[in-house]
Amino acid sequence: MGILDFLTQRNKNTANVAKSRLQILIQQERSMRGAPDYLPLLQRELLEVIRKYINVDSDAVKVDLHKDGDSELLDISVQLPEKPAAANG
């Protein structure tokens, strides 16, 4: 390994990046496991409706199905864009 490689690669631990990306992704995929097939479509359509009125990011709508014993809870959360500080009177 040349001295230049040594200097430029030193701080780049891509394995840690891979690990944290996988942990987030797999946790999300596991929560959707066994959930109805329509959830992704529901999420997309909700996003489209909300976007007619509010300009939200494409990942602003989260749809999660929680199981608590026998009951199931469909948890829909929408993150609204931050308002500029000066606006709003």
Binding site: A15, A18, K19, I26, R30, G34
Partner: protein, 269 residues
């Protein structure tokens, strides 16, 4: 009753067939009467890795369709008397295998006195992969320390817990994680997920770690499963993994960087 072990992964190219061949050889070498079945209908390859490609007369689909008896289709390994290979068909008909057909072949193998049946799954999560895992008692999930392979393994673990006969009966398929193409050097450099990382992400311990080594390719070139290359790290690591699957406790080997001395550093080694 034979114990059915599926070797699966979701992702292709991670070492399922290499693992199936070595696992089957290792079990046979340990004295277990073993059959290894290629479920990859249309893309037969296990015969090549086992080194019996020129002796395939009848295949799995022929047996399922009643065109050949199980005895006619089983290829006896030349190295171990108690090891038999059932090749996949080269047909392009994806529906050639049926649930009932597979069940009958597995049952007949059990009646023939086989101790272990190793099912080499095709990649993906379609019918062939589903049939390979459906009747399994145990699963060896082959995973590379790489993001797409780890993600796909998690999908497969989900399917093993829901789409198998055991799962339908409220039981669990016994799951093993087998990490292949592992490079301790790259892990140390921060370029590769470590054993601990993969175990933590998937929530499962590894039953074996196979180091990336040139002998794996050399063995498939020669049609001799790498487990039989007793001088190679990969072969020894597979031997350890088979022993662990048979219930033995063995420490992991070849998982840390070998420290090179000054001279081998200077002059290469």
């Amino acid at each position: 009753m034979a114990e059915i072990i599926v070797v699966t992964s979701g992702k292709g190219g991670v070492g399922k067939t290499t693992t199936s061949a070595s696992l089957a050889c290792g079990l046979a070498r340990a004295g277990k009467k073993t059959a290894v079945i290629d479920f990859d209908v249309g893309l037969r390859n296990l015969d090549l890795i086992m080194g019996c490609e020129r002796r395939v007369v009848y295949d799995f689909v022929n047996v399922v369709n009643g065109e050949a008896s199980l005895k006619q289709a089983l290829i006896k390994d030349k190295r171990f008397d108690n090891l038999h290979v059932l090749a996949a068909s080269q047909t392009r008909d994806k529906d050639a295998l049926t649930m009932e057909g597979v069940e009958k072949v597995l049952k007949d193998l059990g009646d023939e006195g086989f101790d272990f049946i190793v099912c080499d799954s095709p990649a993906g999560i379609e019918k062939g992969a589903f049939l390979a895992m459906y009747f399994a008692d145990r699963a060896v999930v082959v995973v590379n320390p790489e993001v797409s392979s780890v993600r796909d393994s998690d999908r497969i673990l989900g399917l093993l817990a829901s789409k198998t006969k055991k799962a339908e009966n409220g039981e669990r398929v016994k799951e093993h994680l087998l990490l292949t193409r592992y490079s301790p050097k790259r892990v140390e450099a921060g370029d590769m997920l470590s054993i601990g990382d993969v175990q933590e992400i998937l929530g499962l311990d590894v039953v074996g770690v196979i180091p990336e080594s040139p002998e794996v390719l050399q063995s498939s070139n020669a049609g001799v499963p790498v487990i039989l290359d007793e001088a190679s790290p990969a072969g020894q690591a597979y031997t350890d993994a088979v022993a662990r699957i048979l219930g033995e406790e063995r420490p992991m080997r070849f998982t840390t960087v070998e420290k090179k001395g000054f001279f081998s550093k200077m002059f290469g080694g």
